[in-house]
Amino acid sequence: MNTARLSRVAVVVLAMTFAVSMASAQLNSGAQTIALNANLTESLTLSLSASAVNFTLAAGSASNVGSTTITATTAWTLKPGRTAVGVYAYFGSAAAALTDGVGDNIPSSAFFISDNGGASTALTNTVAFGGANAGYQMANVAITGLNKASSRADVMAFNINLTGGTLPQLPANTYTGTLNIQAQATP
């Protein structure tokens, strides 16, 4: 009995001695460091699926639908502290969104956009870009910790409503204009 106990004790002592021996055999070099610098640049881009829309106007008609829809794809990688991304459509002037160049104009209030199947809305607001009362905010994306780098798509359908004011008397002519789409991250 005593012999067995002594044997166990001997084995344990041997194991401990071996462990200490192994530990003391370990040798480490000095630690050498490498400084790492990684820069993720802030970016905000907007691209369009097409860049032209045609309208065949009917005098006095409320429904003069654009020839095609256009998708605006907004992509961003933002710094901490940004809280929102807005997507805007606007003209340079509320009075002459489209013009024939000889004094006849279609105002921005007669130009409508339906964003992602939503209600068709005239460009009558003053937004971050463009002329006073010549814009429309199509989207406002709240930025959280989960979407500091992300993207969204806005499918725009267009219409010109010729029922307002003097527009039923709009002379026959070709009217041209430039609609701008632009995004802004704030603050």
Binding site: L27, N39, K79
Partner: protein, 186 residues
């Protein structure tokens, strides 16, 4: 006759005197031995030197491929005891969750930091090694120590990459971190 006998006696005495006189002059006397203990110690050593101490990355959001601006060569030099079995080189961060950070709560974990050693596959720092934080390390190399390389040196060329595919929403910012390279003989 008497004279001859006397002369014989004298000659015998002279011969005996000569015989005893010569050994007395040739006898060596030694002091006691004074030992000098000699000890020569060749100390074990391992050192790691790096060809550079900084790497920059221009990140593209969500991209798997964001290579470091330069490779760095780690040169490990050693003088080891016969009892040492192997020499291993490690790369590690102090924490796996924030290998690089912008200091504003946005982090790049060690799992998205990759090293290719000597043109091998890019491997993330996700192992627990003798140094650094848990799951924040990578063994770069292992050299068996044999009879012919107890004193030796080796180079490990490291290329770096940050894979952002698991971090698609990482905020735009400047991220900094410290990668440490260290060797261990055991």
């Amino acid at each position: 006759m008497r004279l001859q006998k006397k002369l014989g006696t004298v000659a015998t005495l002279a011969l005996l005197a000569a015989m005893f006189a010569v050994p007395a002059r040739g006898q060596v006397r030694n002091s006691g031995a004074s030992p000098i203990a000699l000890q020569a110690v060749l100390t074990q050593s391992i050192s790691v030197t790096l060809s550079g101490n900084a790497v920059n990355f221009n990140l593209v959001a969500g991209s798997a491929n964001n290579p470091g601006s330069t490779s760095i060569t780690a040169t490990t030099t050693w003088t080891l005891k016969p009892s040492v079995a192997s020499l291993k080189l490690y790369a590690f961060f102090s924490t796996s969750t924030a290998a690089l950070t912008d200091g504003a709560g946005n982090n790049i974990p060690s799992a998205d930091f990759q090293i290719s050693t000597n043109a091998g596959a890019f491997t993330a720092l996700t192992n627990t090694v003798p140094f650094g934080g848990a799951n924040a390390g990578l063994q770069l190399s292992s050299t068996p120590i044999l009879g012919n390389n107890k004193i030796g040196t080796r180079n490990d060329v490291m290329n770096f990459n940050i894979n952002l595919t698991a971090l698609p929403s990482l905020a735009a910012s400047g991220y900094t971190g410290t990668l440490t390279i260290q060797a261990q003989a055991i």
